[in-house]
Symmetry: C2
Subunit: 193 residues, 2 copies
Amino acid sequence: MPEGLRERTRRAVRAELAAIALDLFAERGFEDTTVEEIARAAGLTKRSFFRYFPAKEDAVFEGIDVTGDQVVRDLLARPADEAPWQSLRAVLSESERQIHASGQAVAGLKLIESTPSLRARVHEKRSRWRQQVSRALRDRPGADLDAFTADLLTNAATAALDTASQAWLRSDGTADRAALLDRAFDLLQPTTA
Amino acid sequence: MPEGLRERTRRAVRAELAAIALDLFAERGFEDTTVEEIARAAGLTKRSFFRYFPAKEDAVFEGIDVTGDQVVRDLLARPADEAPWQSLRAVLSESERQIHASGQAVAGLKLIESTPSLRARVHEKRSRWRQQVSRALRDRPGADLDAFTADLLTNAATAALDTASQAWLRSDGTADRAALLDRAFDLLQPTTA
DNA sequence: AAACTTGTGACACCTGGTGTCATGAAGTAG
DNA sequence: CTACTTCATGACACCAGGTGTCACAAGTTT
């Protein structure tokens, strides 16, 4: 049972809905675009939009969403003897690279940065995966971390991420994202490990 | 012209509105309490509630709000030769202490922690003062910081704050907040300064 | 083809939030 | 004390994001 027509159409509709939404947001701004307009532009009803996305904001994160599960999986795949900080660096560098690769995403990132409710959404998602990541750090074979240190490392990693992101935006997207992230991770390297 | 009756009543109503709101939130939860209910419980209209608070969420932050201005002012008052990281530590320790002092605030903190939309609000406020703080760090007499480093220090400081807060909540509010914060700042001390 | 499941439109409804207007009270002259 | 201005309030209408419900039309299975 490979994949029914239903799931395929569902994903297709979902993707198109997101694309249309992003276009409209870019054109008229996030707040000034109603869900009704998006839905009608896609030939659907408002009600149906909400069957594809739980909220208007979620349409923006279609291609950008870095799930906690993904990060955790990558983290557990790192060599067991690697210092936690280096593992975090490697994993987050990779997921950054991945997001940044899809040209579509860059427009999304700028939109997010300039829209308060979207930034809030980012933080919400992030605080969810911070828990998972912190746990994952402690669950690594041979790891000897207390909860406090694991949280601290995780929070510091997101600080590095944020700093790199801010610098990148300040450069209008011209700076080398990977290099910025590396610099942040270097400077912040905790004294523990 | 010391202070008109108008301003006094306004502040009194505002405070009482916040208190009533906090009670109702504690009782029925934030989402399940409508603005209408709060307003009626205070003998006002929904419309009038919004003349005191721009949004439902803001009623929660009455006593807790650490303004960016406050932090900046404290920061500039630190000795000029103190390392930025130490200044941040001192200022944030103090503001933490201040919030924690008011017994009323603790209920608010727990409510915030358990309500997504409130947590989002916190992050929103924080990202606003991070800009200010980062600027303030660079504006200190004799400071020689590039924007990147200033952002990094600021972000790292909030990481420390978050970590201490998480640990404190994990201990059900029994741990020594100041000690936790100190430990976080020690471990995170950046290699630069 | 019949029976079942799932996506859809239509419609009603709730809640947060804003614009507007009339009214009455607080503050200020004369 | 009276007249004039200013401001907070209630009342009402309105918008947008979300959710519940139901009937119907697809897609799916036997």
